[in-house]
Symmetry: C2
Subunit: 211 residues, 2 copies
């Protein structure tokens, strides 16, 4: 029963269905027919609105990137100290709604697939560069530039690592535990680099009781 103005709704539900289908079937085995059925439409309609399977998948990835970016931007708008901005970025990366099994599965698939798809690769690189840039900027309040860059890269790595390891776990995602892990890293790095800078000889854990 065709009503007019269906396009926006259909695009939305097809993209949502794509995320779920990737979760259930795996990126490689997902078919247009399955996605369409899950969205409650025919396979032909998916092509009508997205042109091709590749474009539907690309649109889905852009959607996830956009949602994640929006969440972080919203949190940053409320954060008024460098330390609060760091926490905003970290928490934004584990926001419920993003940090869900199906979304994690899709992200992982896109990461893998982007390696051989220049357009996807470009998008992920831009997002990643902005993340590291934001982190570096906030960290500059606590650390000299070289250290800030190192810790920013480390923070980004740990965020991605927590995501990828989530994909293998069976227990439901635990955003709070994830945030704690990354916050611990940032906090410890700030304190340690500061201690080093304040002239103390670099402490070594090597002196720990041997085996």
């Amino acid at each position: 029963m065709p009503r007019i103005g269906m396009e926006a709704e259909r695009r939305r539900s097809l993209i949502a269905a794509t995320v779920d289908a990737i979760h259930e079937q795996g990126y490689c085995d997902v078919t247009i027919a399955q996605i369409a059925r899950k969205a409650g439409v025919s396979g032909g309609l998916a092509h009508h609105y997205f042109g091709s399977k590749d474009q539907l998948l690309a649109a889905t990835m852009r959607h996830l990137l956009h949602e994640l970016g929006e969440g972080i931007r919203a949190r940053l708008a409320e954060a008024h100290t460098p330390r609060a901005r760091l926490s905003a970025i970290i928490a934004g990366n584990f926001e419920t709604g993003q940090f869900r099994e199906a979304v994690i599965a899709a992200w992982l698939a896109f990461y893998s697939q982007a390696r051989t798809n220049p357009a996807s690769q470009r998008l992920l690189r831009i997002y990643s560069a902005r993340l590291v840039s934001n982190l570096t900027h906030s960290l500059r309040s606590f650390l000299p530039l070289p250290d800030a860059q190192l810790v920013a890269e480390g923070t980004a790595s740990m965020i991605d690592g927590v995501w990828i390891r989530r994909a293998l776990k069976e227990a439901p995602p635990d955003p709070e535990a994830a945030i704690r892990l990354v916050e611990d890293y940032v906090e410890a790095q700030i304190l340690l680099h500061r201690a080093r800078a304040s002239g103390a000889t670099t402490p070594q854990s090597d002196g720990g009781r041997p085996e």
Copy 2:
């Protein structure tokens, strides 16, 4: 020109070709024909030795897991203090030969694909559990169990995160930088948790100069 005793050599070169093909074509688009051509044999031979495409891919994943495990085991055999064992595990995860573009691409693909393949999932989980267990055990020399478990999980996350971020970079892999990043995390965590345990009030970086 059939010589006898080709099986071992053919299996080896087909697995190597699979890694390269995943690197070049992407996991989803890889075909038996491409892999076989890269290995210098016909498509039929791949089926003769591996039975099916799925089994060839599974064998390739097992091969990568085995190689990585062997490298770490060799390093652990030379490490005689808990701290050295931590470093052995970390360095083993970034050994040249493993930490290469093609291998990274394959790992990423297997991680993604394992989500919908119970057999692959099981293998990755076992490997991951052993990694965390080894880390926890060595960290127990420096930290109480709950902290050791937390830091072990953090270390594993950062290792995986560095791997996945490698997949998006264009510069060649830099094992030393990767190792430094993870070592910094472990070192800082040990020092920080120790400071906390020694009765000092938990230091806060919040006092840093504001924006």
